[in-house]
Amino acid sequence: MPAKHKADPEVKKVVLAYSGGLDTSVIVPWLKNNYGCQVICVTANLGQEEELEGLEEKALISGASKVYIEDLREEFITDYIYPTLMAGAIYERKYLLGTSFARPLIARRQVEIAEIEGADAVAHGCTGKGNDQVRFELTYQALNPRLKVIAPWREWDIRSREDALDYAVEHNVPVSATEKSIYSRDRNIWHLSHEGGILEDPWQEPEEAMYQITTSPENAPDTPDYVTIDFQQGVPKRINGVAMGPISLLETLNELGGRHGIGRVDIVENRLVGMKSHGVY
């Protein structure tokens, strides 16, 4: 895969935000081949409910020299989600910022690890078309502008999933046999986003099978549930009188709300980079 950039000989060690998906797995050998550097993978558990077992092994087989798997759920909730709730911040009256505030947290941890490891660069697997690249990179700039930033999607020739799969096979990256989802999803404890697939036609109602956390309102119970939430200085502390830590609290509410079909939002929204996109949450 010919690279379009000038490989920077100064880059000896890169910290990559690694999700274990096809793209970030391919990025590991790509970075080594195009920059001749060591790759350190950082994976954040933000409540995406994905198997983290085997991720470390996969990253190492793909060529990483070290892997960090970080449980950032509690910090995500108390330092990012709750203050956003307190501010009542909602984008374009509808988008509840689920991916927006997750990326800076991952990026922050990357920068911390880069400093601990003496790395000279950070990298992410975001495309050049979306908001995520901005979220990661603004955080890198704010916390350590001396770190170089590598965004393979903006440099390489990989244009399709087939290209990525070919590259993976060529470079011994383990590829799982799971079916490609037609949707592009991002999930954490705060939300599950969907883009792509039939959603690319904004006149199409999303199909019921796409949703993974909520039941449809039509299929929700005919009897309502009541829930009492206790707040202390803006922080939710109890559900129906039972004290809970932030992770259990959100998991409980997700289950309760999901069962009653609460929380679906369908938006045609404006990306910072200029394009509109159709997202369903």
């Binding site: 307190m86 009541y226 200085q233 609460i262």
Partner: protein
């Protein structure tokens, strides 16, 4: 952010039904809502006579502008557009 949340202590009751989270009750030891003040009876905290003066002062800018219009001070300042040029259904 923390300062704005100092009084955000209390309980919220929600009814969850068919895609709706409906607020059905709220209470807080810091609430500024007092049932005894809000009723139409009590005059200790809220004296209805005060409303007249309040409305006069609150409306003063509107009133001054209206008086100027009456005196013709603002004549010629703003020309009405000729809406006859626009098609009507």
């Amino acid at each position: 952010m923390r300062v704005t949340q100092q009084n955000m202590t209390g309980q919220v009751r929600l009814k969850l039904y068919k895609g709706n989270a409906i607020l059905v009750g709220r209470r807080s030891p810091f609430s500024l809502y007092r049932e005894d003040f809000a009723t139409f009876g009590e005059d200790d905290v809220y004296n209805q006579a005060d409303a007249e003066g309040f409305i006069k002062l609150f409306g003063l800018p509107l009133k001054v502008r209206a008086m100027l219009d009456l005196e013709g001070a603002r004549r010629g300042l703003h020309e009405e557009p000729d809406y006859s040029k626009f098609k009507r259904d």
